[in-house]
Subunit: 237 residues, 2 copies
Amino acid sequence: MSEHIVSSYDNDLENLRRSIAEMGGVAEKMLAEATEALVRRDTTLAQAVIVADKRLDVLQREIEERSVLLIARRQPLAIDLRETISGIRVAGDLERIGDLAKNIAKRVVAISDQAQPQKIVLGVQHMSDLVQEQLKDVLDAYASRDTAAAHDVWERDGAIDALYNSLFRELLTYMMEDPRNISFCTHLLFCAKNVERIGDHTTNVAETIHYLATGEAPAGERPKNDASNYATVLPGA
Amino acid sequence: MSEHIVSSYDNDLENLRRSIAEMGGVAEKMLAEATEALVRRDTTLAQAVIVADKRLDVLQREIEERSVLLIARRQPLAIDLRETISGIRVAGDLERIGDLAKNIAKRVVAISDQAQPQKIVLGVQHMSDLVQEQLKDVLDAYASRDTAAAHDVWERDGAIDALYNSLFRELLTYMMEDPRNISFCTHLLFCAKNVERIGDHTTNVAETIHYLATGEAPAGERPKNDASNYATVLPGA
């Protein structure tokens, strides 16, 4: 579409899309850097992640208020209205992803002085790698309105939950083996839980893409495999 | 105001307020019952909490969609527009509170077969009692548009964070004393974290009340006292 026939309303929607893409970029970077900070015990990088979260909060509030003004001024119907509602929802999920990444970064500061076998951290890193891929894929799917790709992300969340579940048990086992691991592993448990919840938010975005295309929530239950809420590990087990 | 002079727009806003009040009631009940289920190890009550969360999800989506339709149809300005944005925000916080209460209920099921000293649970109960009071007060403040009461809730969140911090250390100490406590105490740690985050969401609602009245976010930083992200406990300490 050449520039002179683009209406002011299209411009507003385009700006909304651009802000959400910016939020997506910040959230992706925060998760990648929080994980890198955890693996390398890099408190400087962790502090940078904590600071980056402020930008995400500002962007979310702007998107929310601009979307609502856009609705009030333009009175969009059907697909355009859904686009605006979807923008508000996706911005909310990305803001939460930033909060969770920031929380991982804060924990990196907490455990920076504790010498622990690096292999315990690798499980969290592996899980984060998978979630980063999910996040990238779902942001691409949102930008290109690709419901098939969104559905693919939606289905893969079960694998992340299963991974979290096994990591949860593994970390509990380390704690039982040696009480000196408890403090460190507790922070890792929360880090892993944060990564799992970031996975849930990518699933939310996938559902929003489905809603954007169809006006409906996806049929069927989410592919949840998170049994860790029910998991217990006994000493010596 | 007698019924015949109430405009259709006022009716829409009134319905929005009523739905939010219903969500608030469900969320309060879920937190109270999840805590009671935890203290009494009552898995039947815990299951009821898990089921109740579905109603909250439905109500949130309805509020979001109805608010946006209301904006599109009525083009409200200034205070009425803020009322609608605020409704979307508060509904989002209440939905998250329900999720967190549901997660506590799921953990009650996990630890139901473990015999542990009841006193460990009492710290979580005490924290939950405080948060329930905050939640009640902030919902009242929202219903009556009482910014002074909202500010009071906002300031009290620091005390809950401080309590969580001390509970975090206490639970880590129990884990170090006896590895048989680890599995149980890990679930309690997550329960306590959930309660602390419910406190954060009540603070969000308090901020929304301020925004509703003034059109601005509250000045100054949140009174955060949550040092537990940085806390570590050493064995024997």
